[in-house]
Symmetry: C2
Subunit: 427 residues, 2 copies
């Protein structure tokens, strides 16, 4: 990357949907691209909850960025952590000391989970954004049943069998629904001292309803499907405290050894490196062409971008990130051709959420379906969009298998307990 | 486990081939069994090198012990670490404070890798015995190419591309052969600043030949097949030092950032808890019925047992462990029936080792095959013996896929670097 090269240098930070789609859309262009990511893989985040609940292995939903892009010769993939951006010198610096100058920069480093100023909860209520997170959660879930099985004290055993998921959005709904399925079906007959189906799975939403981004009728359908799966749905009550022994719901302390956090997201801290104003969630408000105000050579895409359309914010979902990535590629091409940059327009194809075995809700611009049909629709859409043919095949097979057998093949606990039972996961 | 139960209590420590086969063979017996393992899964160790080299995922070669034994009602599976054995009080105590008394005890905790008094090498030359080990090695291998790609200093780049496997037994041969395949084929086109096929893969054996447990003619065949795969085979020279920067071969220091250890095994430290004499490798010499001298109620099976037959030691291989486990079950049944215990006899079906893509050696009592045919034989045997139908199917598919495409689907780096680049793996 130090060799002199006449082509304009495009640095893309983040190999998620935004960054990867922008990279691919620049395949034919006379630029050299450096794609920087802290991880060596693109992650299909919509199926992350399946890794957390032992239904899929990490490699089923992730592919090495190098492999995805091996035939795109104008791209260099760089494993590294961005620690500085100098918008005047137009350089990006990495944790390993390297620095690179750019002609165009796309920041697409996504979002992380947020604890609303309660970061002390993170150790006892892990969130789900990365494969590491998913494996930490998987380890916790599986160990909870093991601890309960080995435990002689009834109160402690109940605490191990008391699961809470905080946050009634799509991730919380997926986790709670699948967790209930595991307790009720997957673990049947495997334990001798406990009955896993007596495990209590609670989904806690501070707002009035689950899946608030869906029409009310589908939120209600989702609640009923969750209850049918054995999930206790609590709405309109906030969680006010979380520690290693349990959580406080409203004013009541509930003993629980397993609390999962699906309540909030915050934009990637890399946004702060731009030194421009950000919104309350840490997102960067961008121009109509997704460039940063005052910096036509810098773009932001995906969950890190704050984009308003028709008075509503564009949602932080995969399709929006892909569309933004492709748009940034088009905007860079326009700049290179001396043309005006186009205005970004989000095309909303609808909203899906899965709830558990055979249960989902789908909202296609007012055309609403739920239950089994919605679940098949959701399954088809997600498997279709998975990166890489092989993954699709294996994922389908794993699904067919666990669907038919109720089994989840990835129930392997690895890693050791670190002090105070915090987890150091491996798969 | 505290409830009074008239049935004799059999404690089996270790869910590997020895312990699991003993447990299954006691299915019909009027005993209650507690199977104790530090891990929640049975591991198909012969394919562990495939996880280390990113060809398979952990769940492909491991299955939860609870799941395997869910329908055997006289078994209780206990996740726990044995820390004490009182052979007079006949109790086993666990790290979590629990203690259990036994009528019969089977110790089948296997082996770990040994550094011949050089434990300080372990950080820089990881061995391969558990899934955690495999994922640590996978992470090291994949990161080495990433570091080389990002590195501007030629000498340092070469050190990152210089791989050494110490130990020319089956594991060392498998690792070296597969590593060469990855460098020469899997990573083609994926890097921009390095050519992975220039990576140097060295297999170092202090003895005169690789695969010393095979006939000389097959050792020679294996050496030639390794060289064809691009492995540099060094025999008759010991490694005298290993640190983070390289290793000393004879008297020459070789800069290398990736050294893998496949040179020695030692029996599980649990053998010491019995307070009986052990051999130099830490194994427990047993009676003809596999019981411990002076303790007819205690048995040892698998890699922890030192068994002589026709003046030769029974090898530490999976078939021997399975046969010992089944024999111990028979011996316990004989004791319960007041009959004399049978004498263990190891039935040697032959010796297989795989070398890499399309290369293996097979020795069936003098009937020797090598190359592609041997490889298919090896593949069929290993897939057939995998626990669980689903795993077999998925493993076969993954194999077919990586065989056809040269790709390895599990090339996902997880976890973070701990200080000095030591690894904290996750998959």
């Amino acid at each position: 990357m130090t060799s002199p090269d006449p082509r304009p240098h495009v640095i893309i930070v983040g190999g998620g949907f935004g960054g990867l789609w922008a990279t691919r859309a620049l395949a034919g262009s006379n630029v050299r691209i450096t794609l920087i990511d802290r991880r060596n893989h693109h992650l299909f985040q919509p199926l992350l909850y399946q890794v957390a609940t032992a239904g899929l292995s990490s490699p089923d939903i992730a592919a090495p960025l190098r492999h995805i892009l091996r035939n795109q010769r104008n791209v260099e993939v760089r494993l590294g952590e961005v620690v500085g951006i100098d918008t005047h010198a137009r350089t990006v610096s990495l944790a390993d000391g390297d620095a690179m100058s750019y002609d165009y920069l796309l920041l697409a480093s996504g979002a992380t989970h947020a604890y609303f100023g309660h970061d002390e909860w993170s150790a006892d209520a892990p969130g789900l954004k990365t494969l590491d997170d998913a494996l930490a959660i998987r380890r916790r879930l599986l160990l909870a049943f093991e601890r309960a099985e080995a435990c002689d004290d009834p109160a402690e055993r109940d605490a191990w069998l008391n699961f809470a998921v905080v946050g009634g959005g799509p991730t919380g709904v997926e986790l709670a629904g699948t967790l209930a399925e595991i307790a009720r079906h997957t673990l049947t007959r495997e334990f001798r001292n406990i009955d896993p189906s007596h495990a209590r799975v609670r989904l806690i939403e501070a707002g009035p309803r689950v899946l608030a981004s869906f029409p009310e009728s589908l939120s209600e359908k989702a609640r009923r499907q969750l209850q049918k799966l054995g999930v206790e749905v609590v709405t309109g009550t906030p969680v006010n405290a979380i520690d290693a022994n349990g959580y406080t719901l409203g004013d009541t302390f509930v003993p629980s050894r397993t609390v999962l956090w699906a309540a909030g997201v915050a934009a990637s801290p890399l946004g702060a490196l731009l030194g421009v104003p950000r919104d309350r969630a840490g997102r960067v408000p961008v121009e109509a062409d997704l460039s940063v105000p005052g910096h036509p050579e810098i773009f932001v895409a995906g969950d890190l971008a704050s984009v308003q359309q028709d008075g509503k914010p564009v949602p932080g979902v995969a399709p929006a990130a892909k569309q933004m990535g492709a748009h940034v590629a088009a905007a860079i091409k326009a700049r290179l051709a001396g043309k005006p940059t186009p205005t970004f327009r989000y095309r909303d194809f609808g909203n899906l959420a899965t709830i558990g075995r055979m249960a989902a809700v789908v909202d296609l611009h007012g055309f609403k379906i739920s239950g089994l049909l919605a679940w098949w629709f959701w399954l088809a859409a997600h498997v279709f969009f998975l990166i890489g043919f092989r993954n699709r095949l294996i994922v389908l097979l794993n699904w067919a298998w666990s669907y038919w057998s109720y089994q989840r093949h990835a129930r392997i606990i690895l890693g050791r307990d670190s002090p105070r039972g915090a987890v150091s996961p491996r798969e």
